[in-house]
């Protein structure tokens, strides 16, 4: 059985995780495991894997959803709300500070040059992200067609992206059950 943890305690635990959570989903999971499994012994490693399994198919930030899931297991709805808020809070504050700084500095020529350099680097990072995402999500020619169609439809017809994604998802439902049945 999972030990019940107070909302306030969960807030403090995940506030710390939120402050230290650099490096994406993998790193944060390791962080959570070290803290909640090894150090505080509130969970087993399997329960973190379970959280990931059940949330990775859901839309939205997976790392936050793992936190929400674990928060619920440890402290119900209040625990989940406390854990999630605490986890996002440091990033929120920091992003707010960066936004304010940006607003002040963005037209200063010296800052402009640095910002332009950063933007160029971001392009490179996103290209790699796209490649990695593509490698995991686009495994069949059907996937390729969906991706290429989405790109074309948005570029040439300015289709609203939410509709494009929903349509692609529905297409996925239409196509895949046939395959699922075939492998059953």
């Amino acid at each position: 059985m999972i030990k019940r943890v107070s909302a306030w305690h969960l807030f403090r635990i995940f506030l710390r995780a939120g402050c230290l959570g650099f490096g994406g989903l993998g790193s944060v999971l390791v962080l959570i495991e070290r803290d909640l499994v090894d150090r505080r012994r509130l969970l087993d490693a399997e329960q973190i894997t379970e959280a990931l399994t059940y949330t990775k198919l859901l839309p939205g930030s997976t790392v936050v959803q793992v936190v929400s899931y674990l928060g619920w297991k440890l402290g119900g709805w209040r625990g989940s709300a406390a854990a999630t808020t605490a986890f996002v809070l440091p990033a929120f504050v920091m992003m707010l500070l960066l936004s304010v700084a940006y607003a002040r500095v963005k037209d200063v020529p010296m800052a402009r040059a640095a910002i332009d350099g950063v933007n160029a680097a971001v392009t490179g990072l996103l290209a790699v992200a796209m490649y990695k995402l593509g490698a995991s999500a686009v495994k069949t020619w059907v996937g390729f067609v969906i991706g290429a169609t989405a790109l074309s439809v948005v570029v040439f017809f300015r289709a609203p992206i939410v509709i494009v994604v929903v349509a692609a998802g529905l297409l996925g439902i239409w196509i895949h059950p046939a395959r699922l049945r075939a492998t059953a």
Binding site: C19, F22, P59, V64, F92, A121, T123, L125, V165, A167
Partner: protein
């Protein structure tokens, strides 16, 4: 009302962001830059950089967008919109609805949506690169950044800072 628009748009984005936070980036870009013209591509690029620098979820880019649109209330509302429904879904998954989250229908939806998001990421890339890669120096920065993040374990923060310094020293 602008705050409601922010809240609603980010809620919509969060609901179709299959593939985690990374999937939300092109969705946010399309909405913030192309559909609502809240930000220029250059501003969005910088928001993404800030998203890499901050800990936690990359969807925190919503905070930046919200701030540009409507100050601190905008930032708060956009952030709420980005995380409210994902939180709800995850808490429900932990509670009663576990079986639904493993449903083949949801999985199939995701398998259709995920490639579409990759395609949209291509659109975002074109949009941001068009404004960012205007000369040889910037193209070089992008190429080096791509190689470094693909082949080494250097954290994006350092790569971005490197880009800032090179940009600074190669400016006219």
């Amino acid at each position: 009302m602008i705050l409601f628009d922010l809240l609603w748009r980010f809620m919509l984005i969060s609901v179709v962001a299959f593939g985690g936070g990374q999937a939300a980036l092109p969705l946010m870009e399309r909405v913030a830059v192309a559909e609502r013209a809240w930000l220029t591509p250059a501003m969005f690029s910088t928001a993404v950089a800030f998203g890499y620098i901050t800990p936690g979820p990359v969807l925190i880019v919503a905070t930046f967008v919200g701030f540009q649109v409507a100050g601190i209330p905008g930032a708060a509302v956009a952030t709420l919109g980005a995380f409210l429904l994902p939180w709800l879904f995850a808490a429900l998954a932990a509670g009663q609805i576990q079986r639904m989250t493993r449903s083949p229908v949801l999985k199939a939806f995701g398998q259709g949506a995920a490639p579409a998001v990759v395609g949209l990421l291509g659109v975002t890339l074109l949009s941001l690169a068009g404004e960012a890669l205007v000369d040889g120096a910037r193209i070089a920065i992008a190429a080096v950044a791509a190689v470094l993040v693909a082949r080494t374990k250097i954290h994006p923060v350092w790569i971005l800072m490197g880009g800032a310094m090179v940009g600074f020293f190669t400016s006219r």
